[in-house]
Subunit: 184 residues, 2 copies
DNA sequence: CTAGCTTTGTACCGATCGGTACAGAGATGA
DNA sequence: TCATCTCTGTACCGATCGGTACAAAGCTAG
């Protein structure tokens, strides 16, 4: 007996590695160790439901581990620093791709438009909130938050493309100090 | 009678929109208006050859319109500014996705690893060269160039995800002024 | 006009796609 | 022990995949 939740990490990896279109049921079956019967028992909606569940779990993880601390934790400077730690770990120093980013670039964006939009919108909003609490102006916080999230996504692309995980770590370090020195 | 070169823009759009795996011959056939017979006559190697040709053309375009000016044009500040103009136009203010970035995130990265690596490596190197000529230190130029290219890629992801093309334009403007004020 | 070439549409190939049907295995409660 | 319900492996569905074969169509040289 296997629960939905137990399969989500394996599912997420398949979607990350192969994208939504490329994640065939054969791959999913191999990754989870479950036959089609079990898969469709757990996810009657098929691939679409699997992807939606994975996105929901990712969103929940980020909400708990990033967004909420950014909004509520004190001091905000510490929350921002913790965010960078969490990001570094979550993306395995750039070796792991951002599934939401992958979906945003593909055609499947339309299928999961709301989830994809929400993920990034909340990230930017939560980070902007922390920056504001740290003394930045309203506009400056929003702009800097956007910049930081974009830089993280770009660093994933670039470090993958150059096959150079150190680039990701380096980019995060640079961002860290930029945010710190910009702090009023 | 159709030449390979004439089909490349349509091919590129299909790969951009659907990724390598998602670009089926049916889609390619519809986008180019060519039947399978013609496609395999022009590209005996099939999809792989089509994608390779598209990548080669992209690479050539960037070499001509971005990398070479960055390396050779004087003054370097103008070359950098021109690069931002070219990027803004090429990516249609964030509405158009970067095919090389898409490939870098997917499994197809392995198929085109060298092309993907070269594209970004040359971009970063050319930009770093211009920054150095503009008076930045060796290390600072390399770091800033990396940061700028990553930020561009991230801005594409973010502006697509939020369905907000203005974000891309805004990010480029910010980068512009950052590069200018950092200039020594 | 015809012979010979290039270009193209179409039919077809085996493989795989996402999804369904269903029988049987495994657990569960009485 | 037996009936019941949850779970799972397998066979199968039509559709589509990338790719091939090939004949007809269009062009060009003589």
């Amino acid at each position: 007996m296997t629960t939905r939740i137990e399969t989500l990490p394996a599912l997420a990896e398949v979607f990350r590695e192969h994208g939504y279109a490329g994640a065939s049921l054969a791959l999913i079956s191999a990754a989870t160790g479950l036959g089609k019967g079990s898969l469709y028992h757990l996810f009657p909606g098929g691939k679409a439901e699997m992807a939606a569940c994975v996105l929901a779990e990712i969103d929940a993880w980020f909400e708990t581990n990033l967004y909420r601390p950014l909004r509520e934790q004190d001091p905000p400077e510490q929350a921002v620093s913790d965010m960078f730690d969490a990001v570094e770990g979550y993306f395995r120093s750039g070796r792991r791709v951002c599934l939401v980013g992958v979906l945003a670039l593909g055609t499947s964006r339309d299928l999961f438009a709301e989830a994809v939009r929400g993920y990034f919108a909340r990230w930017v909003a939560a980070l902007a909130d922390a920056l504001r609490r740290a003394g930045h102006g309203e506009a400056a916080s929003a702009a800097l938050a956007e910049e930081v999230v974009a830089q993280i996504q770009g660093a994933i692309v670039l470090s993958r493309a150059l096959d150079e995980p150190a680039l990701f770590t380096r980019a995060l370090a640079t961002l860290r100090s930029r945010v710190a020195t910009a702090a009023g």
